[in-house]
Amino acid sequence: MQFFNEIIGIISKYWQMLLKGLGYTMLIALVGTLVGLVIGLLTGVLRTIPKSKNTFLRILQKIMNFIIAVYVEIFRGTPMMVQAMVIFWGYALLAGGNTLPVIGAGLFIVSINTGAYMAEIVRGGIMSIDKGQFEGAHAIGMNHFQTMFYVVLPQAIRNILPSVANEFIINIKDTSVLNVIGVAELYYNAYMIQTMNYKIFQTYVIVSVMYFAMTFTVSRLLRLLEKAMNGKNSYVVLGSQSDPAAEIRVKEAE
């Protein structure tokens, strides 16, 4: 009973700090995931450009692909915590002691880190699309970018949604490493609270529940989005040959 009283005590005393931390965690994870996805889609489109016949363009393409590959390997191959320190203090060194605003730095770090993973996820998503979809689009004169934008990526995004949800959930949790540069996200604030009240276990129990609430909500919401993207599974046949006014409902016939 005492345990619950302590929990309630911590909540009623520090609820503002806890909520603020939750807000920043959610903001950084959400923006990081979305920007990361955009980076992934962009690299996906760029990496699949067909080899140009023009020698100069072909060299540019090679350089671009090399840069993307280096980016992916470096940001996947080093811990985000280390990236945060290098970027934050690297900037401070170059800018003569001026530091980046911590929230901005946090958004930036999570975004480019996620982008590296998303680049690979999107690449896999594009590869999962049947070659016929590309050919169908090319055969009516659509160029690479139109084909990707209108035909391939919408289908690829649908296919990679579970992996995107995964990244989002990982980001909610991993945003906690940004405490090393002083971003006041949930873990950082929990740590602050715990240094004030010395109730370490109780404080982190509350925080675990809060993290889980976030990840579970996101997981469910994205499942709903997945369902919505699957579309209706029935359609309306307008008219019929014998009776043009008739409207027949047809269930999916698969």
């Binding site: 016949k53 049947d130 016929g132 979809q133 050919e135 169908g136 689009a137 090319h138 055969a139 009516i140 004169g141 659509m142 160029n143 139109q146 209108y150 035909v151 919408p154 289908q155 649908r158 579309g231 599974n233 029935s234 359609y235 309306v236 046949v237 307008l238 008219g239 019929s240 047809v250 999916e252 016939a253 698969e254």
Partner: protein, 248 residues
């Protein structure tokens, strides 16, 4: 000549060290309905895919209405809009309904307004008997229906030539007829058509000319009456005996 659509000279296509097309020359005139027949692996699909540049020819030349389509700076997208293609596997856009499938290319490539594109799409969906299914998604249609939509999508671009690569080979037998009947009607409209097919009866009755391909070359190029009753080449005769026996 003003009415020459394709002038193909010595077309060669290699896949690595595998020479698939070994020098194909042919002329296609406006309004011709050509069937391409031949054994599996003889290069029929590759030939067709070279015509709309889904495959890049290794050497040789292809002129479309007097323009070298392999030349530097040739606008491939604008060209493909004029040379439609219907695939064995339909290749409808899975993320769009029937109407959007027929509208997308018109709006993005031909820059037609949405309203005009939809009118054109509806016109050709009616031609193929699919106007009632505008809201359906490809996954909800039968093979024959999908192929008819694919034909409507190609027609919506108002192409000058339509290429068909075995348009009925992936269909259940009872659906072959509905697609062939659409194609039969099209062949009477003056549209230039080149069709790779295993439907010998269709080739015989509908085409104005038949190309028989064997081992990467056009072994015989003649009127359907000639090909099917008195082919000059022994290998044409052998091929036809083989496929017609299989039918019987």
């Amino acid at each position: 000549m003003a009415d020459t659509v394709f002038e193909i000279r010595n077309l060669v296509k290699n896949f690595g060290s595998n020479e698939v097309l070994k020098g194909i020359s042919a002329t296609v005139k406006k309004g011709e309905v050509i069937s391409v027949i031949g054994a599996s692996g003889s290069g029929k699909s590759t030939f067709l895919r070279c015509l709309n540049l889904l495959e890049q020819p290794t050497s040789g030349s292809i002129e479309f209405e007097g323009n070298d389509i392999l030349g530097k700076g040739f606008n491939v997208e604008a060209y493909r809009a004029k040379v439609g293609m219907v695939f064995q596997s339909f290749n409808l856009f899975n993320n769009m309904n029937v109407l959007k499938n027929c509208v997308l290319g018109q709006m993005k490539v031909l820059k037609r307004s949405k309203k005009e594109a939809e009118e054109v799409a509806m016109k050709y969906l009616s031609v193929v008997g699919m106007s009632a299914y505008v809201n359906a998604r490809p996954a909800q249609l039968s093979g024959g229906q999908k192929q008819r939509v694919a034909i409507a999508r190609a027609l919506s671009m108002n192409p000058e030539v339509l290429l068909f690569d075995e348009p009925t080979s992936a269909l259940d037998p009872e659906m072959v007829g509905e697609v062939l009947s659409v194609m039969r009607d099209l062949s009477k409209t003056g549209l230039t058509m080149i069709t790779v097919t295993h439907e010998m009866q269709f080739a015989r009755e509908v085409s104005s000319r038949v190309l028989f391909m064997d081992g990467g070359v056009i072994a015989e190029d003649a009127l359907p009456e000639v090909i099917f009753t008195s082919p000059k080449e022994a290998r044409t005769r052998e091929f036809l005996t083989r496929v017609l026996e299989k039918r019987a």
